[in-house]
Symmetry: C2
Subunit: 403 residues, 2 copies
């Protein structure tokens, strides 16, 4: 029998740890927190959780900080992410002093989820970029802009030779520029620009709207020629992502945006750790790219959390493709050396202000990023490359170099 | 122009508060965290957020704790809860030291959501209970049990004359007892028992499965005679609830379970406050009953949070019906006086172990709850009522009286 093993961080009196662990193992599978008479049937026993390990981490002012590992029989779970989430952290999330720190998912259960349909390698193949890190530019100021203003902003970004342009994730109101029209218009522009630059920029359209209409809309966007879907997974639900990834008509990559996830991962003693949330769960559900706050920008995750998250996205698996990590939030060309050191070539760097705030304009901003990335691939220092590249030099002047 | 006003708790240096507030107002509407040149068009200006108030609460060791109110133009939002969530707490949730504390929703925006289709008054009318608090019994040990074992457990609960029996929210695997069959079988039992007791017990079936199939399944459950749907809203997504509430074929109440919500509300400095999450958002999305951890049981919210939450569920509105609060988690008959003092008759008390752990069995457990509730309605003390009611006496003996 296969088990999903959840690791929890718990702060409690040392001599209560065993009881807490048993309470979780039983309470989240076959029983409750109360001392109901145990049902004896073999079938029910096979559904009971098991305490795999109790490990003391340190003594704190509140008691003992410990990690408790509980195994949940796969039989209790179904093909929905909701079944997994509610089982491992449903009631327990309300316990006040428990954090879901890690999740081990057996292959047999992993197989029941779509995983990334493209993943890192698939996206490379799709867009024909063999080696270097990819670059994604982020639309700014979408709200209140007309389609022609947005189209202009798309063109500027495409002229910067970025691989992808994505909508701002707060762009919901489509009254001035419906998503279908954006997909068509930006597609035309991308083809025009590619004839000049040789670089075809793709567009990740924000998939928005009410349910269940959103599923139909996703298919229409694909038909209209969308290159990728951007989804606010933590606002819509992990099973919404899984449904899109399972749909054979959605033949384009899905980019998962982390909006709202900070409400779940930010506290060290409660909630769900970022590598589980943005790593394990998004990969299972089928994200091809996972955007996340890098360790260096305006909004950050700490370096160790980023490392663990990226490990989860890339952990070798025969079942699910590797996800392309998308560090974001306040990135600029002067951070590229740090990001490259951490992630090497297998990532997509996403920037808004760090491209569009370039002193010489948006197109120069995109080119500066690309010059920084090419320097890394050539084993060159950013400062040295800047001697030959005006756009990069101006970017480093504007934002500095982080090391 | 109408605004959604969000109140944030922020801990920061006092002289940075104004800049933080402006950063939120601009960054989450028309701009970014960076100092991009402001777009000047009138249309874009009308989409910009506004700083409504900055109020210092106290000085802390980390700086100043303050409340910042930001108004978001309704025009930026659409009819999805995702648009609301991502706008008011998308990127911002990842900022590390910001909590979404309250939400004021203008009537014009409220109208764009379904709200409860039944609500407190509608449920009373539906089940013909005029005044008293309702009682809900919670299935235990669903996993691994056969339909006939579960049917037996349903019968026992129905014999306790409870108003509703709900599935355990961790009950996902339907291989032994499909939900359609549970609905049919429990319905037959409820009718048989009602002929003996005069009390018809209803069944709230856990709506589970993958998306988008779940929407179709909900309709099939209604056709099969389901009395109510139980939904793990925070595992599936608020827009899943809204879609069910908007569907005219779902002619039964929806009970929202708080599983996983503790991952969002438990930290005092990050995340989203429980009254927003379980109150404002669930009401908007269309929950008829909101289950939540009471201030008294095994898993708790503090008394003030419960009070605020219940206020949000019941706040008078011409647009959305009042939601029936469902205090839960470790309740027993000895807590009924406290719950009645806080909530009066307008609630549904939910108990698992506090019914099924009764020394004389499950049916006695249900009756003890009902006796406790009838005592409250008659203005009687629990202890006095226990002199006349053996089941209540035994319950108070078992669990004590909380005052």
């Amino acid at each position: 029998m296969a088990f999903v093993v959840a690791t929890y961080r718990v702060e409690a009196a040392r001599d209560s740890l065993e009881k807490i662990a048993e309470g979780i193992a039983i309470g989240l599978t076959v029983g409750s927190w109360t001392d109901l008479p145990a049902t004896q049937q073999a079938e029910v026993a096979s559904r009971c959780g098991s305490v795999e390990e109790i490990r003391v981490l340190e003594e704190t002012s509140q008691g003992t900080l410990a990690e408790i590992k509980i195994g949940y029989p796969e039989e209790n779970l179904t093909d929905s992410l909701a079944s997994l989430l509610v089982t491992v952290f449903g009631k327990l999330s309300m316990d006040g002093n428990v954090r879901l720190q890690a999740l081990e998912i057996p292959d047999s259960y992993r197989r029941r989820f779509p995983g990334p349909q493209f993943g890192a390698a698939g996206i490379r193949q799709l867009i024909g970029v063999e080696r270097r890190p990819l670059i994604m530019s982020i639309f700014k100021s979408c709200n209140g802009q007309s389609l022609s203003e947005l189209a202009h902003a798309f063109r500027e970004q495409a002229l910067g030779c970025v691989d992808y342009v994505k909508d701002d994730e707060i762009f919901f109101d489509e009254s001035l520029a419906p998503s279908i029209e954006r997909v068509r218009r930006y597609g035309e522009i991308a083809r025009e620009v590619a004839e000049m630059t040789g670089q075809r920029t793709r567009y990740a359209v924000n998939l928005t709207g009410t349910l269940p209409e959103l599923f139909e809309k996703a298919e229409r966007l694909v038909e209209a020629g969308a290159d990728a879907l951007l989804l606010n997974v933590f606002a819509y639900g992990l099973d919404v992502l899984a449904a899109l990834a399972r749909n054979p008509n959605i033949k384009i990559p899905i980019f998962a945006h982390p909006a709202v996830s900070g409400a779940i991962y930010s506290s060290p003693r409660t909630g769900i750790a970022a590598p589980v949330l943005l790593g394990d769960l998004l990969r299972l559900a089928g994200a091809d790219v996972v955007l996340y706050p890098s360790a260096y920008g305006s909004v950050t995750l700490d370096a160790e959390t980023c490392r663990t998250l990226v490990e989860r996205l890339r952990q070798p698996s025969d079942i699910h493709r590797s996800v392309l990590p998308g560090p974001a939030a306040g990135l600029h060309p002067g951070m590229v050396a740090q990001l490259y050191r951490d992630l090497q070539n297998e990532c997509i760097m996403a920037a808004g202000g760090g491209i569009q705030g370039h002193p010489d304009g948006i197109a120069a901003g995109g080119r500066a990023f690309r010059q920084a990335i090419d320097a890394m691939e050539a084993g060159e220092q950013l400062e040295d490359a800047a001697l030959r590249h005006r756009e990069l030099a101006r970017a480093l002047q504007r934002w500095g170099v982080k090391a």
